[in-house]
């Protein structure tokens, strides 16, 4: 949510509240007045902003995941090329990078993203509060479910171990699992 939007909403709401207080008799016997239309409208605008921010968060996390997946694909291609060229050192490095990227998909981002998520949680923001209650999501996770996380972490570990002595067939087999997990849990429409 943009700071200017918050400031505008607060100003309107504050003015409305002041006006309401000014016209209310000290010992009124009548029911409380209806909330002024301007304040309701301001609140509607604020709600749009808040809910819009949630949607934007989902889109952003999907973008982060897609970028990470793309990075993994790039490193995978590099690994395959290195294996074809019998360049063991380059293959090791590339497969390890694939593993790291797949791990980052599982954890919905690297440690820097984790720091941001922690801040959101500290502010009381849970992207999937109901999903957390049902045990589907870890605290603060937006897109990646626990099941998806486990699948990516398992593949990540297998890839990382494979990086010690990369073999093309084993790499392809493990990547197929990553693709399947991606299609099942993350790909657009999921």
């Amino acid at each position: 949510m943009k700071r200017s939007a918050i400031r505008w909403t607060a100003t309107v709401a504050g003015a409305g509240l002041a006006a309401a207080l000014a016209i209310t008799p000290a010992h009124a016997q009548t029911p409380p007045p209806a909330t002024p239309r301007e304040m309701v409208a301001a609140y509607e605008a604020l709600a749009d902003t808040i809910l819009g921010a949630n949607k934007a968060e989902v889109k952003l996390v999907h973008a982060i995941l897609a970028a990470t997946y793309g990075h993994a694909q790039g490193e995978l291609a590099r690994a395959r090329q290195a294996l074809k060229a019998s360049d063991a050192a380059a293959a090791r490095s590339a497969v390890e990078n694939v593993a790291a990227a797949v791990a980052q998909i599982g954890t919905e981002g690297d440690n820097a993203v984790a720091g941001v998520r922690k801040r959101l949680l500290q502010g009381g923001h849970h992207a999937n509060a109901e999903g957390e209650r049902q045990g589907i999501y870890d605290d603060g996770y937006v897109v990646v479910t626990k099941a998806a996380k486990q699948a990516f972490l398992d593949s990540s570990k297998a890839l990382a171990m494979l990086a010690r002595e990369p073999k093309a067939e084993a790499l392809d087999a493990e990547w197929k699992k990553v693709e399947a997990a991606w299609a099942k849990h993350i790909a657009p429409g999921k």
Partner: protein
């Protein structure tokens, strides 16, 4: 210090317990335990602290533990500061608070061991009382390579670095050499990250808060809907860890340059440096409270890469971050690869990460039995050490809750003051009757480990060392608002060998040195570290239980620079001095 994740988290853990029980049952059915001709353990530990003169009370905030700092406690260290061959002790202290004001700034204590095994408080003479800071941990290393062990005291405030002058006195050089790092400093490790012969330093930090925050803290977190307890760490901001490169006795902040930036601002508690991937370079493991743990792999030239998740040492086997407190390193299963044991909050397993080699791990908590055995207490200081000298590494854990308020509801998860745990490793036992069902690797031996393991306090720091040089490892434990415990090992133990590594004309303690002892074709390895357990430092002399053997076939010392010293056919029951270059 994880709490406040609510009942969901507890329900999740409860499901894990059921799952663990199922896995345990399976493990019992399929996992045989190796057996050799070694007698069963007969542990016997007696607290001799008061008898030998250890009386300093650990001040710990307010009685209600209104802030996490009140209940974090402090560590301890074994060291031989005057190089007389007898271990001395250093105890860190906190402050006592009275409501929102400081009641007393606790004083650290240096206890010098006399020839008769008693200790003399030489704090004032040595000048190591702690400079009035609220202390956290004690880490012993020779940072300036002058041949005398120095003491780093991490603090909630400015760190203190006591340089040993070699005449029984110390001077605080923290400001001069650049390691004060104001903040809530906790665990630390000295290690030579770049192989230049000078010990670098990693210091973890916990929560970003001020003394005013601590003094004004109110208990606002509802614990299980029953009591209001200290708030956090969830909901508080983590503080960044620091890495200092040692440039000939002066330290330069190099956290980011070394690839060690604490991007997630994890709530850091414990740090252990070790060569996890066996490439001759020290790596670094950081235990975070409530956040994923870090494993920094040393890439060479003092550069690191964080590989916690891909090494499978960041989470437990369920992919969950745990509330980690302390670290122990050792080869628990005897396969020649170091394993990691990490203590966690109550109602959660301590995690035994089985080393797979090349810095890969798998969570073996359930199959080895340590998970179910450690689920209930709140766990802190720890060590993997051979207390019965039978040739395998047992586990000791210091326990104690952080909320005194739970004493009003002992049925919930127990009490604030807790007994410690001694888990016997059964790798080398031979008293299992023929046909008996296979057992898990570890079993709880606490109840039969003597009066030392019957003490009920809110324990925190833990260091292991053979203070009386009798070949049996003793245990030093700190506890909130209490004097320390020195658990003298009086058990019937097997044969042993302790290796004293010396560098003539060089460092007092060769941190990073690895010692491998081979007996009957079986190799056992220990390393020398400064920074271990929870806020503590163990005896720097690697100790090996030899079971029934009276000779070690071979002793290999791998020095930090990669050179080796080898001894053959070494007689047991001695302190073997190995000098570098010999």
């Amino acid at each position: 210090m994880e709490e406040g994740r609510g009942r969901l988290g507890q329900a999740h853990r409860a499901r894990e317990v059921v799952a663990a029980a199922a896995v345990l049952a399976l493990a019992l059915a399929v996992a045989p335990v190796a057996k050799t001709a070694v007698p069963a353990a007969h542990f016997q530990f007696v607290d001799v602290a008061a008898r030998v003169g250890l009386t300093r009370v650990l001040e710990a905030g307010r009685p209600g533990k209104d802030h996490l700092l009140d209940s974090a406690g402090a560590g301890a260290a074994f060291l031989d500061f005057d190089k007389d061959g007898r271990l001395d002790l250093y105890l860190v202290n906190g402050w006592r608070l009275e409501a929102d004001r400081v009641g007393e700034r606790g004083r650290n204590a240096l206890y010098h061991q006399r020839a008769d095994g008693t200790f003399e408080d030489v704090t004032d003479r040595a000048g190591v009382a702690g400079e009035g800071e609220w202390g956290s941990g004690a880490f012993v290393a020779d940072y300036d390579n002058d041949g005398w062990p120095d003491i780093l005291v991490t603090t909630f405030g400015r760190n203190v670095l006591y340089r040993n002058r070699g005449d029984g006195r110390f001077e605080n050089t923290a400001a001069r050499v650049g390691v004060e790092a104001p903040g809530w400093n906790t665990g630390a490790a000295f290690f030579d990250a770049d192989g230049d012969g000078w010990l670098d330093l990693y210091v973890a930090q916990y929560v970003d808060c001020t003394l005013e925050d601590v003094l004004k803290a109110k208990r606002t977190l509802w614990w299980k809907g029953l009591e209001q307890v200290a708030y956090g760490p969830f909901g508080l901001k983590g503080a960044p860890d620091h890495f200092f490169r040692n440039e000939k006795g002066r330290f330069v902040e190099a956290t980011e340059a070394a690839g060690l930036k604490d991007l997630a601002l994890g709530f850091g508690f414990a740090v252990r440096a070790a060569d996890f991937d066996d490439d001759g370079r020290p790596d670094l493991y950081v235990a975070n409270d409530s956040d994923p743990n870090y494993l920094y792999r040393n890439e060479g030239s003092g550069r690191f890469k964080e590989i916690g998740v891909t090494s499978f040492s960041a989470f437990d086997g369920n992919g969950m971050a745990q509330a980690s407190m302390g670290i122990a390193l050792g080869d628990a299963d005897g396969d020649g690869i170091p394993d990691l044991f990490v203590t966690n909050f109550s109602e959660d397993f301590a995690t035994l990460y089985k080393g797979l080699g090349h810095a890969f791990f798998e969570d073996a908590s359930k199959t080895t039995g340590v998970g179910p055995l450690t689920f209930r207490p709140l766990k802190w200081g720890t060590a993997l050490a051979d207390f019965d000298n039978d040739g395998d590494l047992d586990i000791v854990v210091a326990n104690g809750h952080i909320y005194p308020q739970i004493d009003g509801h002992p049925e919930a998860i127990g009490t604030y003051r807790q007994k410690n745990l001694l888990l016997e490793n059964r790798l080398r036992r031979d008293d299992v009757p023929a046909g008996a069902p296979p057992e898990t690797l570890f079993r709880d031996a606490s109840a039969e480990a003597g009066p030392g393991f019957a003490l009920v306090r809110s324990h925190r720091g833990l260091a292991v060392g053979d203070f009386d040089n009798d070949g049996r490892l003793d245990i030093l434990i700190t506890a909130l608002d209490s004097p320390p415990e020195l658990l003298h090992n009086e058990g019937a133990a097997g044969s042993w060998l302790t290796v004293v590594c010396e560098v003539p004309g060089g460092t007092a303690i060769p941190i990073g040195t690895r010692v491998t002892v081979t007996v009957g074709g079986r190799a056992m390895t220990q390393d020398i570290a400064a920074g271990d357990s929870y806020l503590s430092t163990h005896d720097p002399r690697p100790h090996f239980g030899l079971g029934g053997a009276e000779t070690a076939d071979e002793v290999v010392v791998r020095w930090p620079d990669g050179t080796r010293s080898v001894r053959k056919n070494v007689r047991a029951r001695q302190f073997l001095v190995v000098k570098k270059g010999s």
